[in-house]
Amino acid sequence: MQKGINNLIEKFGASDLVERRSGLSFITVDQTKAVAAITHLKDIDGYTVLSFITAADWIEDGKMQLTYMLNNPAEVAEIAIRVMLERKKEAGESMETIHHLWPNAKKWQQELKEMYGVDFPTSPGVNDSFILEGWDDMPPNRRDFDTKQYAEDTFFPRGGRVTHDPATYMREQLDPKDPQYYTKKKKKDINS
């Protein structure tokens, strides 16, 4: 087992450990203990590099997952800390900031605020626009934002773009009279 994981489980009550491969583990830490756990990993267990912070929207479970990827260059090990926030219907989940540990964390936090609506109070410049400019819709990376609908409503789509179900379309094109042609032919090829 990787260095530091025992500590996480014992001291910070971490759960749902998944060891993806040697040197990469995913583990869930409670929201209130997450920053303490990350600080512990950084200061004591040698996870000195913050690879990224990102989010995943589990809309059907009502959760907003934050992932902190920490890297230990000396031992070539990585731990991803998952933090499950209660997903709010309108954006506005809140999480403690870690910009005091890594100065570049503020940029990821700024991005998360903009793209997911997860707030990090006291993180410097978190309310400034980072990527989008003049955006007035809901944060676009949230699962319930329909980007195709938005694009169609906004950007004057040019006609002629059709989407087919590939399987049926292929059959129709190969032999429109006999929709089962392709399947039959394949079977025959295998048999012969």
């Binding site: 998944v18 993806r20 491969r21 040197g23 990469l24 995913f26 000195t48 590099v49 913050l50 690879s51 990224f52 990102t54 989010a55 995943a56 929207d57 589990w58 992932t67 990827m69 260059p73 070539v76 990585e78 991803a80 890594w102 100065p103 570049n104 503020k106 940029k107 793209m115 626009s129 980072f130 990527i131 989008l132 400019e133 676009p140 990376n141 699962r143 934002f145 980007t147 195709k148 590939p166 399987a167």
Partner: protein, 389 residues
């Protein structure tokens, strides 16, 4: 660059410089997005006092296409043509990380020959970037000659790509399950011919750039990254190696068959622009050597693809992973989450430019001359599309 800003301008109690634009002592200067010294479509908001930069802020988002949202709407196989456009200059690592993430979560093992072909394609991609990037460093100081020569050779490598994959810039060669095709007839011989040309070029570049008095005097001591900043600010790849920290995913977490190759990335301790360009210059030589080794050790023929489920109905069980590889700029990774459906739940790209161009660049540019911004940016190999995706 020294961090001591105690003399001028004055600072408030939080250590922030007091900048009053109305006093006419400072000038707000925008570099980019339309500016020839900017690597791609981004901009720097500089506050200058005379020729000296007092404060810098990076603005990105000019290339934002919402990839991470788009990938959530694509089948796994449809992710491939979309995701290669994440970073234009070097598309192959994108192919590699996405297809490896899909394979890892889908439980697919790829055949050995495919691994070698993937390595070949990745190293060729690195080679074409470095052929432009190494002389491009001198191009920021208006020495464009090496850039012209390098670009010609890059075009030859792109020709090889066309031969191998059919595509010039976007190859879509690495796909889930393996690669799209085997080596064409006589490819090895033609590639070795081109590598010979690159060997000559490497010698010329050394004379033109690295032994040039003016280049040395301008690049040495410029944009200094101390060793302690490597972890603090997230410095990767050649930039970290120039500051004396070994960061190379190929060496630390060997993927594909990189553990069977003989290579030693160059590490130096100066940490300035000159050191970074020397490290990348050595990378260029190393890449040429590695391509020779790959061509030598590659098996003659063999399976290039593992059996995958029907890609149109491919459902991958719930899981998450983080796959990374070494691009020419440093660690390049993909955080991939699946939820049991036929589309990814979340795909997050982590490129080295994100940390390089944001917090680190803002820090490095303080006290620098406005003439040097382009050099510092290019030495960090900033690629804006991977910042905003």
């Amino acid at each position: 660059m020294n961090e001591d800003r105690s003399l001028y301008p004055e600072h408030d109690e939080n250590g922030k410089p007091i900048i009053d634009l109305e006093s006419h002592k400072f000038l707000k200067l925008w570099q980019g997005p339309q500016h020839p010294g900017i690597t791609g479509n981004m901009s720097l908001e500089l506050t200058v006092s005379g020729d000296e930069i007092v404060e810098s802020k990076t603005h990105v988002g000019y290339l934002h296409r919402g990839f991470e949202k788009l990938l959530e709407r694509r089948l796994f196989v449809q992710c491939m043509p979309t995701s290669i456009r994440l970073c234009v200059a070097e598309p192959d690592p994108n192919e590699y990380i996405v297809s490896t993430a899909v394979e890892e979560l889908g439980g697919i093992e790829i055949p050995d020959n495919a691994k070698w072909l993937r390595m070949l394609s990745l190293e060729m991609a690195r080679l074409q970037v470095l052929l432009r990037g190494v002389p491009g460093q001198a191009g920021t100081f208006a020495l464009g000659l090496g850039y012209q020569w390098g670009n010609y050779l890059r075009d030859l490598i792109l020709d090889s790509f066309e031969e191998l994959t059919g595509g010039r810039v976007y190859h879509m060669y690495i796909i889930p399950g393996g690669v799209r095709g085997n080596l064409p007839e006589g490819f090895k011989g033609r590639m070795l011919e081109k590598l010979k040309l690159i060997d000559e070029f490497v010698v010329k570049i050394d004379k033109l750039i690295f032994q040039n008095v003016v280049f040395e005097s301008r690049a040495k001591g410029l944009g200094h990254i101390p060793k302690e900043w490597v972890d603090k600010y997230g410095v990767y790849g050649p930039a970290a190696r120039a500051s004396g920290v070994m960061r190379d995913v190929r060496k630390t977490n060997p993927y594909l068959n990189y553990d069977q190759l003989d290579f030693e990335p160059h590490v130096t301790t100066e940490g300035d622009v000159y050191a970074r360009s020397v490290v990348r210059y050595n990378d260029l030589q190393m890449t040429v050597d590695m391509i020779r080794q790959i061509l030598d050790k590659m098996p003659d023929g063999g399976d290039i693809r593992a059996q995958t489920p029907n890609v149109l109905h491919w459902k991958i069980p719930k899981g998450e992973t983080y796959v990374k590889c070494e691009s020419s700029r440093g660690e390049y990774g993909m955080y991939f989450v699946t939820d049991g459906s036929d589309k990814p739940r979340r795909a997050h790209l982590k490129g080295p430019s994100y940390t390089h161009a944001n917090a680190l660049l803002d820090k490095l540019l303080i006290n620098a001359n406005i003439a040097d911004t382009a050099a510092i940016m290019v030495s960090l190999a900033t690629c804006p599309p991977e910042i905003e995706r």
